[in-house]
Symmetry: C2
Subunit: 359 residues, 2 copies
C-alpha cells in the first residue's frame, strides 16, 4: 500500500528537474507564429518556471511584429533579421516551429548564432535533412532537442518506469493510434502546409500523428525499431498529394516485440497506447493530445489499477525540461540522433505500401 501511495504522490513530480527559477530564465526566440506557437507554446512558456519568450520570428516582419505585440513579447523579427542575428543577445535558445521541411535551414541559422535548439517533430522531411540538422548542431557545438512532448508527460514517464521494473513482464505487443480531423476541426483551409509535401515532407498522418505512438513506444520500451510494414490510403479531398490520409504500420522492436500503429488526419480525434506483456498490461487512454482527461491503467494478473489524474500542460513540461537541461549542462534525452531514427522509420513507412497477400 505504501508503494502505491508513493507512486501516486510522485506521479506528476518533475523527476528530471534540478534547476530552479533562480537559475533561469532561459529566454527563447520562437521561429514560426502559427497557432501552435500562439495558442500552445507561447502560453506554456509564460506559465513555465524556467523559460521566457523574448522574440518571435516569422517570414515577414509585419506578421512577427503583430504577433509579438499580441503576446507581449519584446522582439518581432523577420526571418532575415533572425538569420542576421538581430537581437540575438536578448535570447538564449531557439524553438523551431516552422513547416517540417523548413526546419533544417532554421536550425542551421540558430546553430550559426550559437543558440541551443528545441525543434518540433517531425524533425525534418527526410533522413538526409534530419542528419544534416544533427551535423549542423554538432559542428556549432549547440544542444539540439526534438520536441517529443510525450517524453515529459508524467503518465508516459510512469509507464516507462513500470515497464522497466517488469510490471508487465516481457513486452509482447503494443497498439497505438492517433487521429484527428485536420481539415474539419483544426484548419478549414485545404491549402494548408501540412498537406503540401514541399512544406510538410512526404506524408501527412504518419509524420504529424504516427510519430506520437511510434516515439512514445520507443521511450516507454527504451528500444529502437528494427523493421516496418505499412498499408497506406488516400482518397478524400485535400489528401491528393500525400499517400497517408490513413496509415496502418507494424513496427518490429528487439526481442520480437510487435507494435501495431495507425494514424489518420481525417478521423475522429482520439489516441491511445496499450502495452501487453507476458504478465500484465498498461494502457494510456486517451493519450497524445495535450488535454486534461488523461488516464493510466495498469493490469497485472487479475489485479487492475485505474489512475486518473489532471494532466500537466505537456508543452510547459517540455520547455522546462529543455531549460533545465541547458541550465544544468546535462544530456538531453530526445536529441537529434534520437529524432533521426523516427524520420528513418517514417520514410520507410511512407515509401509505399509493403507487400501484402491477397485474400
Amino acid at each position: 500500500m505504501s508503494d502505491l501511495t508513493t507512486f501516486l504522490d510522485g506521479f506528476d513530480e518533475r523527476d528530471w528537474q534540478t534547476a530552479t527559477a533562480a537559475d533561469g530564465p532561459v529566454r527563447f526566440a520562437m521561429v514560426g507564429v502559427g497557432w501552435w506557437v500562439t495558442d500552445q507554446a507561447a502560453p506554456a512558456v509564460t506559465a513555465s518556471e524556467l523559460c521566457e519568450t523574448t522574440a518571435l520570428v516569422s517570414r515577414g516582419k509585419e506578421k512577427a511584429a503583430a504577433a509579438a505585440a499580441d503576446l507581449g513579447v519584446e522582439h518581432g523579427l523577420s526571418s532575415k533579421e533572425f538569420r542576421d542575428g538581430v537581437a540575438a543577445e536578448d535570447y538564449d535558445a531557439v524553438y523551431v516551429c516552422t513547416p517540417n521541411a523548413t526546419h533544417l535551414e532554421t536550425v542551421e541559422a540558430a546553430a550559426e548564432l550559437g543558440k541551443p535548439v528545441l525543434c518540433e517533430k517531425p524533425m525534418e522531411a527526410s533522413t538526409e535533412r534530419a542528419e544534416a540538422m544533427v551535423e549542423a548542431c554538432e559542428a556549432a557545438d549547440v544542444p539540439l532537442m526534438i520536441a517529443y512532448r510525450m517524453q515529459t508527460d508524467p503518465a508516459v514517464r510512469r509507464a516507462r518506469e513500470l515497464v522497466s521494473a517488469g510490471a508487465v513482464g516481457d513486452v509482447a505487443h503494443v497498439h497505438g493510434h492517433m487521429s484527428q480531423s485536420l481539415l474539419r476541426d483544426i484548419f478549414s483551409d485545404p491549402d494548408q502546409w501540412r498537406l503540401n509535401p514541399d512544406l510538410a515532407g512526404p506524408g501527412a498522418s504518419v509524420t504529424d500523428l504516427g510519430v506520437y505512438p511510434l516515439n512514445t513506444t520507443r521511450f516507454v520500451l527504451d528500444a529502437d525499431p528494427l523493421a516496418a510494414q505499412s498499408m497506406l490510403y488516400s482518397e478524400h479531398e485535400g489528401f491528393e498529394d500525400v499517400p497517408d490520409e490513413r496509415a496502418a504500420f507494424t513496427v518490429r522492436f528487439p526481442d520480437g516485440v510487435f507494435a501495431s500503429f495507425s494514424a489518420s488526419q481525417r478521423a475522429h480525434e482520439t489516441g491511445f497506447l496499450r502495452i501487453v506483456g507476458t504478465e500484465g498490461e498498461i494502457a494510456l487512454d486517451p493519450a497524445f493530445f495535450n488535454r486534461n482527461d488523461a488516464g493510466l491503467t495498469v493490469a497485472r494478473g487479475d489485479q487492475t489499477a485505474d489512475i486518473d489524474f489532471d494532466s500537466v500542460d505537456q508543452m510547459e513540461e517540455e520547455f522546462d525540461y529543455f531549460a533545465d537541461r541547458l541550465l544544468t549542462g546535462r544530456k538531453i534525452y530526445p536529441d537529434g540522433t534520437h529524432g533521426v531514427t523516427d524520420i528513418r522509420a517514417v520514410e520507410a513507412i511512407l515509401a509505399g505500401e509493403t507487400a501484402t497477400r491477397s485474400l
Copy 2:
C-alpha cells in the same frame, strides 16, 4: 434520451430469436470432451432455453461414457459408434469441438447422418479442408454453422448496429488484440494439441485467438478482408512447432479500412476491439473472453457513453441462436462459407512474415 433508454432496455435482448422453448428442444451430440465441452459448452446448453445435450462423443468409449455419466448425459459414444449412427435418433444436431485439424472428418460423419452441424472455430487447418467441409454439408443438405460466439454477444451486435447506423461515420481504423497464457494459465502440459500442427493446423495464436478480432471485425463492419500483412515470432518453450507465439497482422477491408490485429498464446490474458471512424469511435474493452465484466464505449464528437452491463453467457447465446435457426428454418449468418474466408486469411497470415523494410 428516450433513444438511449430504448438502446439500454434492448441491450441484451435476443433480437434474433423467434422460436420458444415449446418449439424445442434441439438435442445435441457433442463431439469432443475436452474442457471447452465439459466446462463451457455442456453447462451452457443445460442453462439454455432451446437446447439439450443427449450424447457425448470421444475417441474412446470409456472416456465418453465417463463424461456422459459425469454430466448426466444420456449417451456416451465412441467415435466409431458415432460414425456408425449409434443413438442417432436421440439427437438432432452435432456440435464439433475436436482438435481443429480433425473437424472435417467429424463434420463429414455428421453430414452423412443428416445432422445439422455447429462446428468450433477455427473451422479447419486449411482452406482446402474448410471448403471440403462446406461441400460435405451442402451435398448432404445439412446446415453448417461456425461457432463464432462473438456474433451473438449483445455488445458486439449493438456495435454492429451502431456502425451500420453511422454512429462513427465512415470506419477508418480498427485495432484488435487477444492474448492468453496458454501453457501457464490454461494447460500446463506443453504437449497439448493446440501447439501440435498435426492436430491444430499451421498456427497457434492466429488460429485460436486472432480469429476473434478478425471475425468480430468482419461482423461489426459487415465486410470481408481483401489483403493482409503479417509479422510472426516464436521463441519460447512449447512454441517450437508453430510460427506464431506472437503475431501482428494488418488486414485491409474495402474502402480503405485498415485493421491492426495481434494475438499471442503466451501473454497476459486480455482482449479488446476498437473501431475509429470519421465521426466517432466504439470500444469493446474487455472483449472476446466469455466473462462478466464486458464494456462498450461509444464516442461521437465530444460526447462519450460508457455502457457497463452483465455479459450474457456467450455459449448459451450461441447454442440458442443455432437452435432457433434450426427450429425456424432460417438462414444461419456465420455459415461455412463465411468461415472459409477466415481460414483463407489465417493461411495467408501464417504463410510467413510478409515483406518488411529494415530500419
